[in-house]
């Protein structure tokens, strides 16, 4: 007998898995999502956050571009505060770029993407930071910024309201089978090591770049190529809208402004394992140099951190059979392809089209379960309220900014001054068992994401762990230190200019005023394995990383 039973187990807590959980819940199907780290701690949370208009794919991948157009419009309806409607520009800065323009315009026309050529003068009036090198500008109103953390959390919370369950830090270690039918999932808690079994009628493998590892537990193959992308976060937006190079998509050709920052993207390097993501200095330097071709101020702005994500590119050529289709993602029906009933993989794709991917895979699985209900995820807003903003996000207007007419709202205390996070924004997550580390709190609230990189809020959050959650002082201090260390890992790659001064304030507070370094060496056991990293890296991968690192 399994410890728990459910209808469907969804493996993977990125945008796809979260979208699947919501789709299942909205069709009335019992489901549990398991994720080996935290929600959005893999590919989704490490994307650059561009809501694709489709402009980047319209020449080389028309089918993908058309999906982006449609899904972008749906997301603007169902996830209004998760999307920042920035619009975007495609700019030419060289003769080669200009040669690409007719193909780009034609691609936009075919895909149905609104595209308007505007004069450089007009563009510069709207975006004063456009570089002197810019020769031609196209305005693409449907590019946008998508907050990947809120997107995933919004989907999961919507599913939870309908009975869907989520277990974070829960790895799949095996399956139970009944003949050729998968009948359950064996899991292990990544922190405590506790093992549990979940009985189910179907399993959906939504683990993206990790799909192959999960499928291998059933002796079937899913070929996913993990491709690393490095990004750099600047402390200022520099532009109102997303800025793309008008050329064949390549390295360092996009700047995505979102909230108070801008993200320079990206690179594409095949990696041996989705968790081996070294950040090379050459990549950081290239992103800054290339970004500066499009926008002034990229080189002088303060770079806050660099990070790397992994794309789950799916080799369609090798998987010609057994899939429901699309150019850019695939549903693999393992019953048809491999003779294993109750197991389905969803691979490839991107954050912008997560909902469609979820709908397609859920269609198949629901049909197999005999459920005929259609997906309604394109119609119902994530927060289930047509008329209100998504309450997951609090805008600065809530924080006591004087209203233009009438009364002044008193200033409320902030837990994270950089990102305007209030104590009450953190409170509900302190009660959520799916939230285990302060990084998890960050992903849900943005606390610690700003210029000081958690120097101040980490102490307040550690305090909350003691007062709201009842953890002991040592665990709370360890959590604070781990949080700071995780932030530090990104800061190190862009360590010049003001970053040194910021680091000195951080070490001044934590090492000199608090003496935390001695708290760690004198009173603590070694850190918990994998904490703050979204689950442990497999032993063989850790070795590769050690060798691969300069």
């Amino acid at each position: 007998m399994p410890d728990t039973s459910t209808g469907v187990v969804v493996i993977g807590g990125g945008s796809t898995g979260a979208g699947v959980l919501r789709d299942l819940a909205m069709r009335g199907i019992d489901a549990i999502l398991i994720e080996k780290g935290d929600l959005a701690s893999g590919t989704t949370g490490r994307s650059h956050g561009l809501l694709h208009s489709g402009g980047r794919y319209c020449v080389n991948d028309l089918a993908a571009a058309i999906e982006c157009v449609e899904e972008g419009r749906i997301l603007r309806r169902i996830a209004r505060t998760t999307v920042e409607d920035t619009g975007g520009y495609f700019v030419s800065v060289s003769e080669e770029d200009e040669a690409w323009e007719p193909r780009f315009v034609e691609g936009c026309r075919k895909a149905g993407i609104t595209c308007e050529r505007i004069s450089v003068e007009e563009a510069r009036r709207r975006e004063p930071a456009l570089s002197k090198q810019v020769r031609t500008v196209f305005w693409i109103p449907e590019d946008g910024h998508l907050d990947p953390f809120y997107l995933v959390v919004g989907n999961v919370e919507s599913a939870r309201r309908r009975g869907g369950q989520v277990r974070t830090y829960t790895e799949v270690i095996g399956f139970t089978r009944n003949g050729n039918r998968v009948s359950g999932v064996l899991t292990r808690d990544a922190m405590t090591g506790e093992e549990t079994s979940i009985g189910c009628q179907a399993v959906i493998n939504a683990t993206g770049a990790w799909s192959g590892f999960v499928a291998r537990l059933l002796d079937v193959e899913v070929k996913v190529v993990p491709v690393k992308g490095v990004m750099v976060i600047l402390s200022r937006r520099l532009a109102h809208a997303a800025i793309n190079r008008c050329h064949k998509p390549g390295d360092g050709d996009i700047v995505v402004p979102g909230l108070s920052v801008a993200i320079l993207g990206t690179t594409a390097v095949k990696v041996p394992h989705p968790e081996v993501l070294p950040i090379e200095w050459d990549e950081v330097q290239m992103l800054i140099d290339e970004g500066a071709k499009m926008l002034d101020g990229v080189t002088t702005a303060r770079a806050m951190r660099a990070y790397a994500g992994v794309r789950p590119l799916y080799d369609l050529g090798a998987e010609a059979e057994g899939r429901e289709m699309s150019r850019n993602f695939a549903v693999i029906d393992h019953e048809e392809r491999d003779g294993i009933a109750g197991f389905t993989s969803i691979v490839g794709g991107k954050v912008t089209t997560y909902r469609l991917m979820a709908e397609r895979v859920t269609d198949l699985v629901a049909r197999r379960l005999g459920v005929s209900t259609k997906s309604t995820t394109a119609e119902v807003p994530l927060n289930d309220r047509e008329d209100e903003l998504d309450q997951l996000r609090h805008r600065p207007a809530h924080l006591g900014v004087p209203k233009p007419h009438g009364e002044e709202v008193a200033l409320q205390p902030l837990l994270c001054e950089c990102e305007l996070v209030r104590p009450q924004d953190v409170e509900p997550w302190m009660k959520d068992p799916a939230v285990r580390t302060l990084e998890d709190v960050r992903r849900r609230t943005r606390s610690g994401m700003g210029p000081c990189q958690a120097a101040i809020c980490s102490y307040r959050l550690a305090g909350r762990l003691v007062t709201d959650r009842g953890v002991d002082g040592r665990t709370a201090t360890r959590a604070m230190a781990d949080f700071l260390e995780t932030r530090w890992r990104g800061v190190r790659h862009v360590f010049w200019g003001s970053q040194l001064r910021q680091a000195q304030v951080t070490t001044g507070v934590h090492l000199e005023l608090f003496n935390v370094d001695r708290q760690l060496t004198k009173y603590f056991p070694p850190p918990l394995a994998g904490e703050g990293q979204g689950g442990g890296v497999p032993a063989e991968a850790a070795e590769v990383e050690a060798v691969g690192q300069p």
Binding site: W281, Q285, G400, A410, L411, Q412, P413, L414, L415, P423, A455, I456, Y459, R460, A462, G463, V466, T467, D472, G473, R474, A476, T477, M480, A481, L484, E485, W488, R489, V491, R492, H493, V494, F495, W496, G497, L500, R501, A503, Q504, V505, T506, T507, G508, V509, H510, L511, E512, L513, F514, N515, V516, D517, R518, Q519, L520, T521, K522, Y523, P550
Partner: protein
């Protein structure tokens, strides 16, 4: 503008250098480049907390510890400055603090062990008297006291850690929280707001009353965040101890730090009141050198450049916060001579993988002569009348050994002696 001796800096080393010159009857000018590290990093004057950056056992006798450090590491900034500079500089500071209206205590041969806001014992040497009752060499039980809605001191966290970290588990450590009179916890208030309110007798008595009820153990000492007054802190502390009926000690908090503000504000004002000229918010960005001497330094102030001429110069920028050097992606230079102080293939090389380990960037600086003159790599001074104090000196990293105040005092004092002799 022409001066006797120009001191550039905004931290403790610049203040000590200026005061030393003033006491010797010289006429220094103090040039402040901008917001000071005093705001962020100072609460106590730490002389030597640990013998090396990673050892776990605290130093008990800092002056002996420094003597040993000098013997073992003749290149260390403490060795360059010399033990007498630390000793004379410290007496000068304590005298000065007294004259400026502070109540501080401590001697160089003994570290106090004070609980921090995370409840970690930390060795400190010279401390405000308002912190001294926290000394963990004493036996009375400790109750950490916080306030509803105040996030910068979490008594429960401090108590939970100290109950592990303090030797002798039988000793009591507790935590209480009280609401602040008239302060709604859902409204924004900072350490500075509370510190100001504590100067109001009615407010303070009300807080004392609430704490007296909340704390059950009559023998307990009360550990509070450092909010006991902003400008009249000595009186506030004395009165508050009477009003609560308990020994009370302050604990430094995250910035904005009331302890740092008090120190900075009053020492700065005292210098001005005793006739020291100051040039405000003017970062120096160039030293003009001819025939081995610095002729003038150029300041960037309010939209125009201002040259300052002096017989000697003390560059007392305490660290990166104070602008001791400028870092590009590969090259670190100083703001005066624009010499390359360090080259890195990647910026990541400046850091350790762990935030809590010694950071390579912290040790960047000029090689110095025996007289604290910045030198070329060959040991030859860049300018015979320029002297360094603080973080411009190579190997100056007080963080891990907890020696920020002592190193600032020793180098500031010594640089002032050398500048007078130049």
């Amino acid at each position: 503008m022409r001066f006797d001796i120009a001191v550039v800096g905004s931290g403790l080393s610049a203040l000590i250098a200026t005061r030393t010159l003033q006491r010797a009857g010289r006429k220094p000018v103090l040039i402040w480049p901008g917001l000071s590290s005093l705001y962020f990093l100072y609460a106590t004057v730490d002389v030597l907390g640990y013998a090396n950056p990673t050892t776990a056992e605290a130093v008990e006798d800092p002056v002996s510890g420094v003597r040993q450090l000098i013997a073992d590491h003749p290149e260390h900034p403490y060795a360059r400055a010399g033990l007498p500079a630390l000793q004379n500089g410290s007496s000068l500071l304590l005298d000065w603090l007294r004259e400026a209206g502070f109540n501080w205590q401590g001697t160089l041969d003994r570290n106090l062990l004070l609980p921090t806001a995370t409840g970690t014992p930390k060795p400190s040497c010279l401390v405000p008297t308002s912190m001294a009752a926290g000394d963990l060499h004493r036996n009375e039980p400790i109750v950490f006291c916080g306030f509803d809605g105040y996030q910068d001191f979490i008594p429960e966290l401090a108590a939970a850690n100290l109950s592990h970290g303090w030797n002798g588990g039988s000793r009591n450590v507790g935590a209480v929280r009280v609401p602040l009179p008239g302060v709604k916890p859902d409204r924004l208030f900072t350490s500075i707001d509370i510190a100001r309110s504590m100067e109001d007798a009615t407010f303070r008595r009300d807080v004392a009353e609430r704490l007296r009820h909340a704390v059950k153990d009559d023998r307990a000492r009360l550990g509070l965040p450092a909010v006991l007054g902003l400008t009249h802190d000595t009186d506030v502390h004395v009165e508050f101890e009477k009003e609560t009926g308990h020994p009370v000690f302050e604990i430094p908090t995250v910035p904005p730090s009331v302890l740092g503000l008090r120190l900075f504000d009053r020492l700065r004002r005292h210098l001005q009141e005793t006739g020291i000229e100051m040039i405000w918010a003017a970062p120096a960005h160039e030293a003009e050198v001819a025939n081995g001497r610095c002729l003038r330094i150029h300041l960037k102030s309010a939209g125009r450049e201002q040259p300052v001429e002096a017989k000697a110069y003390i560059l007392a920028l305490e660290d990166a916060v104070d602008g001791a050097w400028r870092a590009g992606a590969h090259t670190v230079r100083d703001p005066f001579f624009h010499q390359v102080l360090a080259q890195h293939a990647t910026p990541g090389e400046r850091t350790d993988e762990s935030l809590f380990a010694p950071q390579p960037f912290a040790a960047i600086g000029y090689p110095v002569s025996d007289r604290l003159q910045p030198t070329h790599q060959d040991g030859h001074p860049l300018a015979s009348n320029v002297f360094l104090a603080g973080g411009g000196i190579a190997g100056y990293d007080p963080t891990g050994i907890k020696a920020r105040g002592g190193m600032a005092i020793a180098t500031g004092y010594r640089a002032a002696q050398e500048a007078m002799a130049a």
